[in-house]
Each structure stands twice: as C-alpha cells, then as structure tokens.
C-alpha cells in the first residue's frame, strides 16, 4: 500500500517498513539540499560572508541529497516555466508539455517581433520582445491579492477575505491560465497559439483571466464585513 507512515523518517534498524511514504522525505535529516548555481562556487573565499563560509564547510562534511531531474544549472532554465510546464503536463507526457511551452514562447516572440517591425520609430522601444519577461509579467498581473476561504460560524458558512501565500497566488494564476486556454478555445486552435494570445492579453492587463481576478477581488471586497471571522 502507498499510505504514509506515522514518522517521516524511521531508521531501518528499528522499523523494517515496507510502506513507502507518499509525500514525506525518506532522507536522514542531516542530508543537505543540492546547490546547482555556478555563481556560488565561482566566488573566491575572501568575498564570502561568515554564514556562507560556514555553509561551505558544512557542505564538505555532510551528505547531500540527489538532485531531482528538473533541477538544472543551465542559464536557460527557469523555475516558473518548469512549474508551468509541469502543470500543463497530462499523464506524464513531459515531452509534449515542454514542446508546447517552447512553441508558446516562440509564438509570443514572433507576434511581438511583427508588432515591433510594424511600429513607428518612436514606439519601438516600448514594445517588449523577450518572451520570458512577458511570461513573468503576465503571471504577475494574473496573481490575486486576497482569496476567499470558507469559515463556519454559528452553523453558517461564510466566504471570508483572506491574504494568500506566494505559492498559492502563483498556483492560482497558472491554474486559471491553463483552464482558460483549455476550455475557451476553438476546437481547431492549437494550445501554443491560444496560450500566447492569453499571455499577451494578461501582459497588457486585459483578457478573461484578469477579469476572473477582478471578479474574485470584487467578491472579497463585498464580503469585507466578514474579515473579522478570521483568527489568523
């Protein structure tokens, strides 16, 4: 069975568990996270602060966890884009998801370049051509600021406006983007085309995802009287 054990880590000598914990780590707590950034190893010793020096010494002594395949030290890898690709992936088809993502970025670049070449001279600097910048800015514009959570008080459930964590905001933005592109597109339109369209609209603070964010904000604003029901 794949149910998690009561302990996240149990030494093999005490409990010979044949149960694989689903979400908890089986590493010994002394294992450190791998650091793949090249810059942290190119700095000369003198430039490091006290804490960084201690960290380096610790790394020489302690064992290090295996790096997951998604962690890369390449300059072209972007954690946000990897996360988005994983969310787009269906039934483990990472190849397809990654190709869709690269086609999306290419489509954004093509559209922006076309716009750039058509624009008059004075407007050329305002047009952003870097698809990564557009992607990040579009996601940032789609992130909601407050969310609603169900709180039961006196037998009734109220929708209470609540501040969201960064992870939750990022997740909601990506989720909205993907669901919008999957559901509201023409049967024969390809995903990269639709995604690039939505990303460019979100970059300019227009489009259905921004509207969805505004709807959420309006509901939170309407329910602001219940904000005192929170206890955190």
């Amino acid at each position: 069975s794949r149910h998690s054990t009561a302990l996240g880590y149990s030494p093999a000598s005490l409990v010979p568990c044949r149960i694989m914990p689903v979400r908890w780590s089986r590493y010994n707590p002394s294992y450190l996270e791998p650091d793949v950034k090249k810059e942290s190893y190119q700095k000369p010793l003198e430039e490091l602060t006290e804490e960084e020096r201690e960290q380096m010494e610790l790394k020489a002594v302690r064992p290090i966890k295996a790096a997951p395949p998604t962690l890369s030290s390449s300059v072209f890898s972007d954690p946000m884009i990897s996360k988005f690709t994983n969310m787009m992936m269906k039934s483990g088809n990472k190849v397809l998801a990654r190709s869709l993502m690269s086609q999306t970025l290419e489509a954004i670049k093509r559209k922006q370049l076309e716009k750039y070449h058509r624009a008059p001279e004075n407007e050329k600097e305002t047009i952003e051509c870097n698809p990564y910048v557009i992607f990040h800015q579009a996601l940032k514009n789609c992130q909601p600021i407050v969310g609603l959570s169900n709180i039961t008080k006196g037998g009734k459930t109220y929708q209470v406006p609540v501040p969201l964590t960064d992870n939750r905001k990022r997740f909601l933005a990506m989720k909205w983007l993907i669901t919008e592109c999957r559901e509201n597109k023409h049967r024969r339109m390809m995903m990269p085309e639709k995604l690039s369209q939505e990303l460019l609209l979100a970059f300019n603070n227009e489009g259905p995802i921004i509207k969805r964010k505004h709807v959420l904000h309006k509901m939170a604003e309407g329910n602001r009287a219940y904000a005192h029901f929170r206890w955190w």
Binding site: N141, I145, P161, H217, R224, H228, F229, R230, W231, W232
Partner: protein, 123 residues
C-alpha cells in the same frame, strides 16, 4: 475502601457515629488529595484577525480605481508588508512562552506538567 487513602474507621470516627452524634460526613475526599499531572482542556481563546486596516484601505482604493492594481500599488505593498510581518511574528511566537494575552494553552501546560510528574508513592 470508599474514600481512597483513608481507612473506613477514620471516616466512621470523624462522622461521630461512635459518639451518638451523627453528623453528615465531613471527610469526603472524592479523589486522591494530590495534584494531577494534567489540566482540564479549555477551549483556546481565538486570536484576532491581522492586517484588517490595511486590507480595508486597499479595498477602498480598489473601489475608487475600478479594481486596477497599478494606481493602488502603494496600498498593496503596505498590505503585503503587514501580512509578512504577521506571519513572521506568528512563527517566532509559537514556542514555550506565554501568548500575547499572557496565558498558556492547556496543551502546553500539560506538556510541561508531564515532564515533572507528581510523586504519589515511595519506591
């Protein structure tokens, strides 16, 4: 024995049964006269919601500017700062110290009492 720790003759003697002066039993210890190792579970007083003023200021700004984020950037920044501060405070505060209201929840009290149990017998 009806009352723990006290032989029956003590209860009968104190009650005046042998002096023909029966009175209601004055010695009625229902449990052992010693401190228990745990406190009754009390419903912890709910804390107040944090950052309500910042949130209401931000929402007023939204109402004025038709829910655009660019004119309200300052209010949004203040709201985020408040949220980060409250989060940090909550992480630092949750240790074995008194809460902001000056009382300790029953779970923490029980943990402390378990470390120093009452000695009720001689070895």
């Amino acid at each position: 024995m009806a009352a723990p720790g006290y032989p029956t003759w003590v209860t009968r003697w104190v009650s005046g049964q042998w002096r023909n002066k029966k009175r209601p039993p004055t010695l009625r210890p229902p449990r052992i006269l010693a401190l228990a190792d745990q406190v009754a579970n009390r419903r912890e007083q709910l804390r107040e919601a944090t950052c309500i003023t910042e949130m209401s200021v931000m929402m007023a700004c939204w109402k004025q500017n038709d829910f655009n984020d660019t004119p309200c950037a300052e209010e949004i920044r203040m709201f985020y700062d408040c949220v980060a501060k409250a989060q940090k405070e909550r992480e630092n505060q949750n240790e074995d110290t008194l809460s902001s209201r000056g009382n300790l929840p029953s779970s923490k009290v029980n943990k402390l009492l378990k470390r120093f149990p009452q000695i009720t017998h001689y070895v």
